[in-house]
Amino acid sequence: MRSRIGSRVFLALLALYFALPLVAALLYSLATKWGDTVLPSGYTLHWWVDVFSRPEVSGALGRSLVLTAVTLAIDVLLVVPAAYWSVVHNPRIGSVVQTVTVIPFAIPWVVIAAGLQLIVKDTVPQLFGTFWLLAAATAAIAFPFLYWAVENSLLAADARRLSEAAATCGAHPMVTLVRVVLPAIRGGIVSGSLLVAATAMNEFALAKVLVGTRYETLPLWSARVFTSRTGNDPNALAVITIFTFGLLFALSALVVWLGRGKSASSTLALARTSSSAEKG
């Protein structure tokens, strides 16, 4: 009994720890003035209207969404067939791929960006400073999230056995992939994609080093506003923080609801990367 109360208290503290910053940001985005009182002295939608009527914000939001979509497309097209191949046809390359997936976490993203910058300058200067380099780099650092999710669902669905069964049914490998394997791992693709989207949406270091002001994404805009110290912009930052969180949260809630609880863990995982990417 005592331990049950203890665990409840612990959970409540944990929830408070995670929720407080969000609640504070939300209140701030709605506050008329929040000085030396516990709660704001008044509430308004002024900041929300103001922020989204600025062309630079809608532009940055659009650029972030385009970057997210392109990153996602690159990762899904590259990672799903690769994971399928490694699990079903050549398990021996699995350990190599596993090692590669750790690289984006072993090396700081700023270092990865600087390294890319150096290599690209010498080898393919046409790519230097372009959106495509940013998209390729973002896809490269975000791919492990998708790879892990897809690999797990391939193993859980016993995709290898399913592929063999399909072969003995007379199915071509492409037919097997599209009609048997993909439907069986749909959950993994979707939850992995969410993590990739969250990473791309919040990624700052690569964008800062690789494209800078040439392609200002939402995180770049936030950083610029944060450091510029002009007027009432902290409220605008609060609006964007809450907006980004709300967008990703709604997306993952949708996925959980569609998956009928099968991939319930994706929401938590998503919240985790979203906050860590914010810091990175």
Binding site: A157, D158, R161, L162, E164, A165, A166, A167, T168, C169, G170, A171, H172, V175, R179, V180, P183, A184
Partner: protein, 340 residues
């Protein structure tokens, strides 16, 4: 007429020889069981026939056509896996239809065939259900129907009953045999369960260490194993190692048979071939314990410090008491002798 012919099929995994130049053939409409302990190569052999493993050497032909280098999807086979391997996103009916739709059969023809097969395996009512809504036995019936759907020349069954619980297992075992008879399809059936192999196959190939030790009808394999391994693996046997004298080996007054050359011989005999009587002739022994098994009672008896077990009809065993002095004998034709 041989329908499936394997010639010198060899397969290596690194240094390990999984199949050692296996020759075997299966007649049209025959059911061959590949029986052996795990790691004996039986599943590898089946997968070579299916085309899921490539043989390193040797040839495989089905219906006279060489399929050795043909990919699995082009071979005229249907396969059932131990883990069912049903496509989880497709209903039972769609699973059965799958081999037909990938062959682009007409929709009407496919629907009729699916209905026919679901009826054959007794699942007419369950066609709309997803695999996870079916029991293990039902899933394996669907897998069987799916394997039979394109009317393949050979049906390959890889331990199809091993994942099922005992009761379902026996029922489905007999049903597999019924369906195989009804369809008249040439079948290769992998199992490590000897009673399964003996119960439903026309011939049993006993495998050990990548080779076929004996390939014969179930009664032959049971009564006259040709190798020591086959004798030890099929059925329960008493095994005694005894000295050879003058070309014969004897165990007291219980039996006296010809022996192969060598100083010692291994004598194997089945519990149902051991006679236990209150009077001689025979070897004097003491009843240790009785285990009631229903129709028969297993009697453990010790003579000269050696314990043998005998399956005695329960009616006659009723007269035996623990500790009773008895005489044990085995008819010479029931003793298999191998060099020790």
């Amino acid at each position: 007429m041989s329908h499936v012919v394997l010639n010198g099929v060899t397969k290596r995994y690194g240094a390990q020889l999984a199949l050692d130049a296996v020759d075997v053939s299966v007649d049209k409409g025959e059911m061959l069981a590949l029986l052996g302990p795990s790691g004996c190569g039986k599943t590898t052999l089946l997968r070579c026939i299916a085309g899921l493993n490539d043989a390193d050497a040797g040839t495989i032909s089905i219906g006279g056509a060489d399929v050795t280098r043909m990919p699995a999807r082009k071979r005229p086979i249907g396969m059932v896996f131990q883990s069912y391997a049903l496509f989880p996103n497709l209903s039972a009916a769609k699973n059965v239809a799958f081999p037909l739709t990938v062959r682009r059969r007409e929709r009407k023809e496919t629907a009729a065939r699916v209905e026919e097969l679901l009826a054959l395996v007794g699942l007419e009512e369950h066609g709309h259900k997803l695999p996870n809504q079916l029991s293990g036995g039902q899933q394996q019936r669907v897998a069987l129907a799916r394997a039979l759907a394109p009317d393949p020349e050979v049906l390959l069954l890889d331990e199809p009953l091993s994942a099922l619980d005992a009761q379902v297992r026996t029922r489905l075992r007999d049903e597999v045999r019924r369906i195989q008879h009804q369809v008249g399809i040439t079948t290769v059936f992998v199992t490590h369960d000897q009673s399964e192999a003996l119960a439903i196959s026309d011939r049993v190939a006993v495998m050990n260490a990548g080779r076929i030790e004996q390939c014969a009808t179930p009664p032959e394999v049971y009564a006259a194993p040709s190798t020591r391994f086959a004798a030890g693996f099929v059925g329960n046997r008493n095994t005694l190692e005894l000295p050879v004298a003058d070309g014969r080996v004897a165990w007291g007054g219980a039996f006296d048979v010809e022996a192969p050359s060598g100083e010692r011989a291994l004598c194997l005999f089945r519990p149902e071939d051991v006679e236990i009587g209150a009077d001689g002739p025979g070897l004097a022994a003491t009843v240790d314990v009785k285990v009631f098994l229903g129709a028969v009672t297993r009697v453990y008896a010790t003579c000269d410090g050696t314990t043998v077990f005998a399956d005695v009809p329960s009616r006659s065993a009723a007269g035996l008491e623990d500790g009773q002095k008895v005489f044990v004998r085995v008819a010479p034709e029931h003793v298999q002798v191998f060099a020790a």
